[in-house]
């Protein structure tokens, strides 16, 4: 639909153009720039991003100093999702999504947002998109920086180069998972209006609670396969995509940490579907709430 343009003279005597109903790319562009400016004007995202970059550098030094297997190298570059049950970068950067929504309610910023942007739906989509893409970019950038440092250190030490050819798949899964975490946080915060329970949930659920739920479900006849398909177990399966060398010393322990034997692609699909469901439910709450 082609937008109709009307011209009105503003209070300041300026001439302003306002587009009449219809699809318009400028609405999305303005919403993205609005959200980008909101995020970049705060200090906390820079601090969190800085911490992730430092961890990424540390990971690179760690890989450079040790002779890890390709699977272990990928795990370190993915911010150790096996050891911490989710990428450490996700635990740090999901706050981008939670605060993007919680500040709307806590400080009446939603009034400014709703009176500035073309629609609540556009505003919400921009918040989810900007926080997710920023978090994923920071995490991926930190990983790649770590890989470069590891390669450099190996070259200096005269050791074989990092297996770059094996990295695209784990890095792609890692990027998708990192896109999902802030979106999950944004959706959950939109549902409950408060970031504190969301932060507690996202810290505790993958670490402890999902395991307990999985144990209980596993005891129900016919549900034995369900624990491996729970969202965060599925995301670990998606990240652990360099299999085939399961005969190493700690393979049993690794499998226990993984907690899922679903195919990485299916794991990624499950986690993405769960994220989309939460984001859509959060969006419905966000667009309907009075402010």
């Amino acid at each position: 639909m082609t937008p109709v343009v009307t011209t009105t003279t503003g209070a300041g005597g300026k001439t302003a153009e306002h587009d009449r109903p219809g699809m318009h790319l400028s609405c999305a562009r303005r919403a993205l720039r609005y959200e980008g400016k909101r995020l970049s004007s705060l200090r906390s995202p820079w601090i969190l991003a800085g911490i992730v970059v430092l961890i990424g550098i540390g990971n690179g030094i760690d890989i450079g100093l040790h002779d890890y297997s390709p699977a272990a190298t990928a795990d370190v570059l993915q911010f150790a999702p096996l050891a911490s049950q989710a990428p450490m970068s996700a635990f740090l950067l999901f706050a981008f999504g939670a605060t993007a929504i919680s500040a709307e309610y806590a400080h009446q910023a939603a009034r400014s947002t709703f009176l500035t942007l073309s629609s609540r739906r556009t505003a919400y989509a921009a918040k989810v998109a900007v926080t997710s893409v920023t978090a994923a970019a920071v995490a991926l950038g930190s990983s790649l920086l770590g890989a470069l440092i590891a390669s450099g250190m190996r070259a200096v030490r005269g050791e074989p180069s990092l297996g770059w050819l094996g990295l695209p798949a784990p890095m792609a899964s890692f990027t998708v998972v990192m896109l999902c975490w802030p979106a999950l946080a944004a959706g959950l915060t939109a549902l409950v209006r408060n970031r504190l329970p969301v932060i507690m949930f996202l810290l505790l659920w993958p670490l402890v609670l999902e395991r307990l739920v999985g144990l209980l479900l596993g005891r129900i006849p016919g549900f034995s396969a369900v624990p491996g398909h729970l969202p965060f177990a599925a995301s670990r399966a998606a990240l652990y995509c360099l299999r085939g060398d399961d005969d190493f010393e700690d393979a049993g322990f690794t499998r226990a940490l993984l907690g899922s034997d679903v195919h990485p692609a299916l794991g990624l699909l499950i986690f993405c579907a769960f994220t989309v469901g939460v984001v859509v439910a959060g969006g419905a709450a966000y667009t309907r709430r009075d402010v």
């Binding site: 303005r30 720039r33 009034r111």
Partner: protein, 305 residues
């Protein structure tokens, strides 16, 4: 005196209604704000003024429809460029600096970020540009909120208690700014408890009580309806009352010292007192104020409930 407003409403609402837990807090509110006018929304605490404004702005969901420049606000791609709103200071992250917050809004509105500086200069807050929103005083927050509302150069302004927290200088500045916007063809709707400010500024008043509009009128109509009255002070009020009654007027005591005369103007009262040899210590012709209009409407409303 303000210029008479043109007929076409830039902002109109019809049948606005909102319930909280079964209680009707706004009930069938309809009002129109013509171009070139300032409309004051009056009412006691809990009358439903703020909820009405939030309904009009689409911040709260309810029944009814609001049109801004002829169409619902949700249909405008850049709502901040057709209506500016100030609802109790500035809504934003307390860690944001003023310049960053306004730059963010400028990005959202699609106006040049370079407009932020002049907007801050216009409200006299150039020195506050580096302050965080959480550091602003109530008055400063109101002014930043107004700068934000004006950033998109909208033709319609909606303000909820805009004089709260402002010093006398700022109040005078705000009054002048709102008057100028209306005189340039804009439409301003503001709620306020400060009836004296509404009296000085508004062309129209809408009175709300218990979620309903109980009266709305132009200031000119109020004057016509209530007419002028004269305030007098005399040591012989009984003789003066009798003389005024003989000439078709009416004298009512006000506060034990002064009295209000209706039906005669100050010239007639002065001549009458001089003819009868009745001393006068005070003689003043008064136009009915918005405050008196509001109080009379409110009194009526409460006496019938």
């Amino acid at each position: 005196m303000p210029k008479p407003a043109s007929a076409a409403p830039l902002l109109s609402a019809s049948g606005l209604a909102k319930s909280y837990r079964g209680k009707r807090v706004v009930d069938g509110v309809s009002l129109a704000v013509p171009a070139g006018s300032v409309t004051g929304l009056l009412g006691a605490n809990g009358a439903g003024k703020t909820t009405t404004l939030r309904l009009m702005l689409g911040l709260a969901h309810g029944e009814g429809e609001t049109a801004v420049l002829g169409r619902p606000l949700r249909e405008w791609h850049s709502p901040g460029r057709v209506v500016g709103a100030v609802l109790g200071g500035v809504g934003g992250h307390p860690r944001h600096r003023v310049r960053d917050h306004l730059a963010m809004v400028a990005h959202g509105l699609g106006v040049p970020v370079g407009d932020v500086g002049p907007a801050l200069a216009a409200i006299g807050l150039e020195q506050a540009t580096g302050l965080r929103l959480g550091q602003l005083s109530l008055g400063m927050a109101q002014r930043v909120g107004l700068a934000q509302a004006l950033l998109g150069s909208p033709r319609v302004l909606i303000l909820d208690e805009p004089f709260n927290g402002l010093d006398p200088h700022s109040i005078a500045w705000l009054r002048g700014t709102l008057r100028r916007i209306a005189d340039e063809g804009g439409a301003v709707l503001l709620s306020s408890h400060l009836l004296a400010e509404i009296d000085q500024l508004a062309d129209h008043v809408v009175v709300m009580a218990r979620g309903r509009v109980t009266a709305q009128s132009s200031v000119d109509q109020i004057t016509e309806r209530a007419g002028l009255h004269v305030v007098v002070e005399s040591p012989e009020p009984e003789r003066l009352a009798a003389a005024i009654a003989e000439n078709g007027g009416c004298l009512e005591p006000l506060d034990g010292v002064r009295a209000r005369v209706t039906g005669l103007d100050r010239h007639q009262v002065g001549h009458l007192a001089a003819e009868r040899g009745i001393p006068l210590y005070w003689l003043e012709e008064k136009t009915p104020s918005v405050e008196e209009f509001y109080l009379s409407v409110a009194e009526e409303e409460f006496s019938t409930s």
